[in-house]
Each structure stands twice: as C-alpha cells, then as structure tokens.
C-alpha cells in the first residue's frame, strides 16, 4: 500500500448526499478479477452520455478538475455495497482523499486499505471547502495527515480527527495482513481454547 503523508492537489466539488457505491462504480465493471483499470469507469453513469462520450457537465470532465486528487462530497458518502471496487476506482482515477460530513462504514474502512484518506468534517466546514473547490484548479488544497490539517490555497486551515491506528497504518503504508501475521500465536491460542469451549463452531 502506498503511504499517505502530505497531499497537495486540486479538490473537485461533488455536492450530492448519499453517493452510493453503484454510482461510484456500476456493477457491470465488477466483473474484473484485477484491482486496477477501474478509473475510466469511475462515476460511469454520471460521467458519460448515452453514446459513450463524456458528459461535459460532470465535474471530473471539466478541464479544471480532470486531475483532481481530492473529492469534496455530501453526507453518507459510499453507502450501499461492500465492493472495494469503489475505492479501487477512485484510486485508479487519482483520488487520494475524500472530505465529507459522514461516510458509510464499510466504504470508510475500505479506503484505508487502499491508501485513501477519508476525512469527516462538520457540515459547515465541508460547505466552506465545497465553495473553495468550486473555484476550480487554482483552488488547491493541502492535506497533512501527520498534523491532521487541511490548508486551503488562501491559507485557511481546518483540523480533522482520525483514529490513531488507522493514521499510523496510512503514514507508514502498512499492510494489515503482515501486522496480524505477527500475532499468529495469539490466534492459535484462541483457537485451542475455543476447540474446548465451543467445539461445534
């Protein structure tokens, strides 16, 4: 997993609530057996017209936001399915950070497994960043994970909270499985105990 330390980039505004995983990556693109290559179908139904051409009105098709690395969105972002194809598609497009008033649990968790930082801020602050993002490509933002701060191009800062373990894993680019494999003796001990206590499991 790629480390997340500090990111400076263009933020794209997506002022919709309840952006669901079917919107982020429709099911016809879940038929892959790989993790890569999903970026071209990110937000597919909003991003392309019937004839397959780009919808010029969709934010990520506008010249200012084509290289956006940050997404600002409404509440309950990522609701719906557990498909990790949603963060894979965002990452493949180049999005490394999403800022919203709230996220759906499974999606939120999936982001951290892929080096994406989801940031929860109060609605008023998200509204302020949304207005900032609407200024286009000159409105770049800096996200500093170590110091838990977002700084706008005008120098205004917003502090955010994050779970300390998740922060540590992102900063170091740690692989969960390797971490847990180091605890394998505890797992084996639990299994021995359970074989006696709940043998039917």
């Amino acid at each position: 997993m790629e480390k997340f330390t500090t990111l400076t980039g263009v933020a794209a505004p997506l002022p919709l609530i309840n952006v669901d995983t079917d919107m982020i990556i429709p099911k016809q693109f879940l038929k892959t057996i790989k993790r890569s290559g999903l970026g071209k179908n990110l937000f597919d139904e909003m991003r392309y017209l019937e004839d397959g051409s780009e919808n010029p009105d969709f934010v990520l098709n506008k010249p200012a936001y084509r290289n956006a690395e940050i997404l600002i969105a409404g509440e309950n972002f990522g609701c719906g399915s557990s498909r990790e194809h949603a963060p894979w598609a965002l990452l493949d497009f180049g999005i490394r950070c999403i800022i919203a008033p709230s996220f759906a649990d499974i999606f939120y968790n999936n982001c951290f497994k892929n080096g994406i930082l989801p940031i929860v801020l109060p609605q008023e602050q998200v509204d302020e960043l949304m207005r900032e993002a609407e200024k286009g490509e000159n409105a770049r933002m800096t996200v500093d994970l170590e110091n838990q701060e977002i700084t706008t191009s005008e120098g205004k800062t917003f502090r955010f909270e994050i779970d300390s373990f998740k922060k540590h894993c992102l900063l170091e680019g740690l692989d969960d499985i390797a971490l847990t494999m180091a605890r394998i003796d505890s797992i084996a001990e639990y299994e021995r105990k359970m074989a006696l206590e709940r043998p039917w499991v």
Binding site: G80, A104, D163, T180
Partner: protein, 468 residues
C-alpha cells in the same frame, strides 16, 4: 458483579483475540462466506504472498451474483467476464480446499440464503462475507457484517479482522402487525424513520413483540436491510424459533455438541439494564404496507400516500429528492397507486426464501398478471426452488404468467443478463433502489413479495390489502 451487557457486547467479548490500549481489536471469525465477485483479488493476494487459507473448514463459497437464472444455464455462462469470475471461484475453492457449492449443485443459491439453509450460520457466531447484505445472518443472533476484498484476504489468511467496537443501537417494534403488513414493510419502515445513515457506526439489535412474532425467514428479511439503514450489522436474540430452525440442518451441531451449544446459545440475550447508545421505537400497528418512491431506501411511504414535494425536505435532501423524482419520472402529488409498472421481480437475499414465495403465491393463486407485464420469480436457492415446486407454488406462478427461474442474485443487482432497460419501471422485492441498480436507467420501487404480486396483477403499485 459484572456490568450488564448487550447481545452485541457478549458476542464481541467471546471473539476477542487481542485488544490494544486504543481499543483496536483482533476479532476471531467463525464463518467466512465467499462469492465470485469480491473474492478473486483476495485469493490472488494469498497466492502472491505464498499464504494459505487458515481455516478452510470455516470457509464456504458459492457463486451467485453473476450466474444466469434461465433454465439452460447448465450449458455454461455466455458472458465471458462473468464466466471467468465463476471459473476463478471454482479454481480457488479447489486449490485452497474450502467448502463449495458449484453452479449446478441443487444447494447453490444466494450466499445469504445458503448459509442459514445448510446450518453454517449459528447463534453467537461471527460471520463475514465480501457483501454488505451479510447482515442477514444476524437473524440468528450471529454478529454478521460485510467486508471489502482486502478484509476478505485478511480473513482468509488469519481468520481474524482488525476492528474497533461499534456502538449499540436498539430498534424496538412493539405490538402487532396489521393484516397485509410483512417483515419487509417493517424493515423499510425502520429505514424510513431513521434514514440511510441512522445506524452508521452502530450494531442494531431488533427486538419487541413484532420481531418475536416473525418467523426466521421474516427476521432474516429485517436484518438483511440493516445495512440500508447504515448499520453494518443487525441482531436478533435467538429463541426457540431459532433453535427449531437450526436443528437437523446439515452443518448444525448434533448429539452432545447440540446440548453444549444450546447451553451457550440460551445465554445470548441483552441483560436487563444494559445500556444502548441509541434507541428507536416504532409501533407495529402504525406500520402500513410501504413502497419506495425515490432512489434511496429511506425514500419510503405507505402505499396510500402521494409522491412527496422535494421542497418539503431539508438540507441536501431537497436536491437529492428533486434528482430522484427526475430519475424516477414522477411528479409531486401523484398518487403512488397510480404509478404504472412494466416489470416485477420477486427474489433476492431480502425476499427469496420459501415464506416469501408463499406470500406472493397466496395473492396470485387463480389470477393472471396484467397483459404486457414482465414478471419473474428467482428463488434464493436450488432447495427453495425445489420446495416451492413440491408445495405447488411454482405452478401458481407459472399459471399466473411469471417466469420460474433458477437461483441467483439476478435482477437485484443485474450483474447477470436479468436487467432493466432505461426507463423500465420495476416492482422489486430486493433491497436497493439506487440509480442504475437494476440496469442503467431502470426505475425500482422496493416492496414486499405480496405487494409485488399485487402490482403484477394490476399493472400498477397496489395496496395488497385490496386483493386480500
């Protein structure tokens, strides 16, 4: 004396392998269910790292999302990408030595129907699957939730998950349900009341007389949609109905093990005075047969209502409702019962069990669906299908004009050829009415199997009570 615990607290504590100071915990997983869409990358990860499946005997795989449901599916899957995914699951199951129900096995079906049916799902267990509707298994008093593919790989390799404990939420449904009101109406009404993010960060325990009175099938329908209310998991304390359902199933404990299991299962309830972080109470009598009008499962109204005016909402919901009405092709003030449909879909992990088919058949018996309506029943498993044939339900559906399909997820998420066309309007017993969920441009109204059957007869959204 120890502090009173909720059911969730008890199951959590029983699966805690390790806990660090900040509360980050290693939780042991008793059952890992696997399907073809969210697992190939996980198995590939194992292979690349030279790792094995730690507990293949606790890992159960079945293809469901992609499989065709037409009677000719023995001939194979036409869509190449779908076929590759199912073949990958075949190969991974064999290579890693996990339990497997292949496409043409009578026990094949939707993973959340197969698990309980085969007795894999038991009270007090932790159950995970790379699928958000894993919450279904909570009906047995099992802590069950969906995970992403990275976590699928983590569970395959270590049989554990790294987690922090969620908060406790109680949803109590008091009293009794009115005639024509089912488990699906209950679960939709709850989401209508709490919103799609109402349960975020929480594990819900459903309780109250209405929940006690529900069958195991009905309880599965309620828990299935916990995720649509934002909660990763929904739980119902096990009782005699639960034990009765489990007893004798192929993988249920037997003999002395059954007795030992029962002794523990009977301790699985929320202690008196245990505290919940959030409590929601609904009266069973207040719940009507409901349908959804928009593109979020929280867009729920009684069938007797009218399409709402977006301006009647607040905040971001105003724009969301406006967008939803445009997508759905509806106007504020339109009576829900005036909305004409093109298609009816009965099935899914929400409503693809035998009781659901019985409820729909009861309404359809001796009747025909409206001319021009496309209607299909997709049983949740090969065994549900066989039982429905034995009970004569299949014939009722066929005589009414329904297509009688083979088991799979089908038009719930339309990854197989069962899809809506742009603008096509569907009365569906599934769980999500998101834009494009059942096919690009498709319009979904969620409802109970009985309501879907009623809609098939009249060709419009219908109050099932008028046909009872």
């Amino acid at each position: 004396m120890t502090a009173p615990k909720t059911l969730y607290d008890k199951i959590w504590d029983a699966h805690l392998v390790e806990e660090s100071e900040d509360g980050t915990s290693l939780i042991y997983i008793d059952r890992h269910l696997v399907h073809e869409v969210t697992s190939p990358q996980a198995f590939e990860g194992l292979r690349m790292a030279g790792r094995k499946v730690r507990a293949p005997e606790k890992t159960i795989a079945v293809p469901d999302h992609n499989v065709p449901t037409t009677p000719d599916r023995e001939k194979g899957i036409e869509n190449e990408e779908s076929r590759i995914q199912v073949e990958a699951l075949d190969r991974n199951a064999r290579e890693f030595g996990i339990h497997y129900y292949p496409v043409n096995d009578i026990r094949q079906g939707i993973v959340h129907i197969v698990g309980p049916e085969q007795g894999w799902t038991l009270p007090g267990m932790t159950v995970v699957c790379g699928d958000s509707h894993t919450a279904t298994h909570g009906a047995f008093g099992a802590l069950a939730h969906g995970i992403g593919t990275s976590e699928v790989e983590h569970v395959l390799a270590t049989q554990t998950l790294i987690q922090k404990k969620s908060k406790n939420m109680k949803v109590e449904i008091t009293g009794r349900l009115q005639p024509g009101v089912t488990a699906k109406d209950v679960t939709l009404a709850i989401i209508g009341a709490t919103g799609t993010a109402g349960g975020t960060g929480h594990v819900i325990e459903y309780c109250g007389d209405v929940i006690r009175d529900l069958s195991m099938e009905g309880r599965m329908t309620v828990c299935n949609m916990a995720i649509e209310g934002g909660a990763r998991a929904g739980l119902i304390a096990p009782d005699e109905k639960t034990f009765e359902y489990i007893k004798g199933r192929p993988h249920a404990p037997k003999g002395a093990q059954w007795e030992a299991a029962m002794a523990w299962w009977q301790t699985l309830f929320t202690d008196e005075d245990a505290e919940f972080d959030k409590v929601v109470t609904l009266k069973g009598e207040d719940i009507a047969p409901v349908v959804t009008w928009g593109t979020s499962p929280e867009d729920v109204l009684p069938i007797t209502a009218e399409v709402p005016d977006p301006e009647s909402f607040e905040g971001g919901k105003v724009d969301a409702a406006r967008r939803a009405l445009e997508y759905m092709g509806l106007k504020p003030g339109q009576k829900l019962t005036d909305i004409e449909i093109d298609t009816v879909f009965i099935g899914s992990c929400t409503n693809g069990r035998i009781e659901d088919l019985r409820a729909a058949a009861e309404i359809l018996k001796g009747k025909k669906i409206k001319e021009g309506i496309r209607a299909m029943v997709v049983p949740g498993s090969g065994l549900v299908r066989a039982q429905a044939e034995e009970e004569g339900l299949a014939q009722i559906f066929i005589d009414a004009g329904f297509e009688w399909r083979l088991a799979g997820c089908s038009m719930c998420l339309a990854m197989n050829p069962d899809q809506l066309s742009p603008g096509e309007r569907c009365a569906a017993t599934s769980n999500r009415n998101f834009e494009g969920r059942q096919g690009k441009g498709g319009r979904t109204h969620l409802m109970s199997p009985a309501m879907a059957a009623a809609a098939a007869i009249t060709g419009r959204l219908t109050d099932v009570r008028e046909l009872m």
